[in-house]
Amino acid sequence: MNTKILTKSLWLFHCSVGSCNNCDIELLDCLTPRYDVERFGMLLVGSIRHADVIAVTGAMNIKSAERMKKIYEQAPKPCLVVACGTCACSQGIFKGSYSMPTPLDEILPVNLYIPGCPPRPEAIIAGIVNLINRLNRPPKKKRLEAKI
């Protein structure tokens, strides 16, 4: 699939796997008139079947790890995964807790990490713009040739 078309209209599915709700609020802030991610073509969708990006917030626990895996399997591919917030990136202060089996990136292929507790909406938008640029970048060989 043409990544240029995909990156021009990323539909976001918001998936909280046990967060304290801060990252969720910051993620929703991106859709408000002040930040307005619809100008990049991003929309928040309610159904995983419509999603292009799964934005995961929170540290995964034993119960939600299974469900997160199931949700990723239900998403139509190509589908990107964004770990939003320190807990989703690296379990944060919950590392080593009895109910936290594994970090997110050990069970899913994470495409983008956005650290912060919670990350500011500016950080989330900057992260997603970086992801879009990385996907649209030509492969390494071509870049070298272009430089020469």
Partner: protein
């Protein structure tokens, strides 16, 4: 050959879909500007549809997969037929056949029915909720819409072709000058709002309660077809009102072109304003609203038309 051209290219599938995509962008941009946002770029609806074409198609395991995959194409086909039948008499004089207004009203029902079929065959509990709401919505708005569209027919003592209504309006002035037709026009605006499933009446795909309602299991190509047919319906629905009540949607000369565009934009702006200034009603409130106020108003319009006002 000519018929095929009419159905597939102009004013059928290609023209209507391009106009629908453009209109969807205008809708989203105006909504964004009214909400003090920037809004998406002009190619956004096109890229949304193109992206969905390339995505994986998932089919629910317990659903009826044939019906599930065919339902969006019913919707698209009905819209293509309806738009061709509706636009041809506007562009080319004396085309159409006796009773094409009735055929168009039937074809306008099919997108709703295909939503019901597709949602019901997807075996998802939220989709079944959306389907039951869609059925109740259709039951509530169909009667007043038919009554409202038939008020001009009764007023002109039985002209039931679109071409005939347009010719009648050319000689006798627009339909809207009659009191009965003013009532019918207002009723039809509200019913069109419900038919397009936009905000006061969007219970069947209420995103904050039941996710995407009947469309919840759709992905990839079928979802794109549903989205496209909805955009095309949004383009074609105001044209039905313009044709029946407001002296047609024609581009013969400069004056007609300008007035057609102004009529269209005003109707479309009313649609967006109703959408943005109202909260979602509950489904029981919707049924009560349509069956008490709206149907009574539509009946008053019919009675006035029968009296010749």
């Amino acid at each position: 050959m000519n018929t095929l051209f009419n159905y597939l290219i102009f004013p059928g599938f290609l023209f209507t879909s391009i106009a629908g995509l453009a209109l969807n962008w205008i809708d989203r941009k105006l909504t964004a500007r009214i909400q003090w946002r920037v809004g998406p770029p002009w190619y956004q609806p096109l890229f949304d549809v193109l992206k969905l074409f390339g995505k994986e198609i998932t089919i629910p395991k317990e659903g009826k997969d044939t019906l599930f995959l065919i339902a969006p194409f019913f919707s698209l086909g009905a819209i293509v037929f309806a738009s061709t039948l509706l636009l041809l008499p506007n562009f080319i004089s004396s085309s159409g056949f006796a009773g094409d207004l009735i055929v168009i009203l039937y074809l306008f029902m099919i997108p709703g029915i295909s939503t019901i079929l597709g949602g019901a065959s997807s075996a998802n509990p939220l989709a079944s909720l959306g389907v039951s709401r869609e059925i109740k919505l259709m039951i509530s708005y169909e009667l007043p819409l038919v009554l409202a569209i038939f008020t001009p027919v009764i007023k002109t003592s039985g002209i039931i072709t679109i071409d005939g209504l347009l010719k009648y309006q050319l000689t006798n002035g627009i339909m809207l000058k009659n009191p009965s037709c003013i009532i019918a026009f207002l009723v039809a605006i509200i019913c069109i709002q419900a038919k397009l499933g936009s905000v006061p009446f969007d219970q069947s795909e209420a995103e904050t309660e039941i996710m995407a309602g009947a469309y919840i299991e759709y992905s990839g190509l079928p979802l794109a077809i549903f989205k496209l047919s909805k955009m095309m319906l949004t383009f074609i629905a105001p044209i039905l009102l313009i044709t029946v009540f407001l002296n047609g949607f024609r581009f013969d000369n400069l004056l007609a072109t300008i007035t057609s565009l102004i009529k269209y934009l005003i109707l479309f702006f009313i649609y967006i304003l109703i959408k943005l200034t109202n909260p979602r009603l509950r489904i029981d409130q919707t049924v009560k609203f349509f069956w008490s106020y709206v149907t009574v108003f539509a009946l008053i319009g019919v009675v006035l038309a029968l009296l010749g006002v």
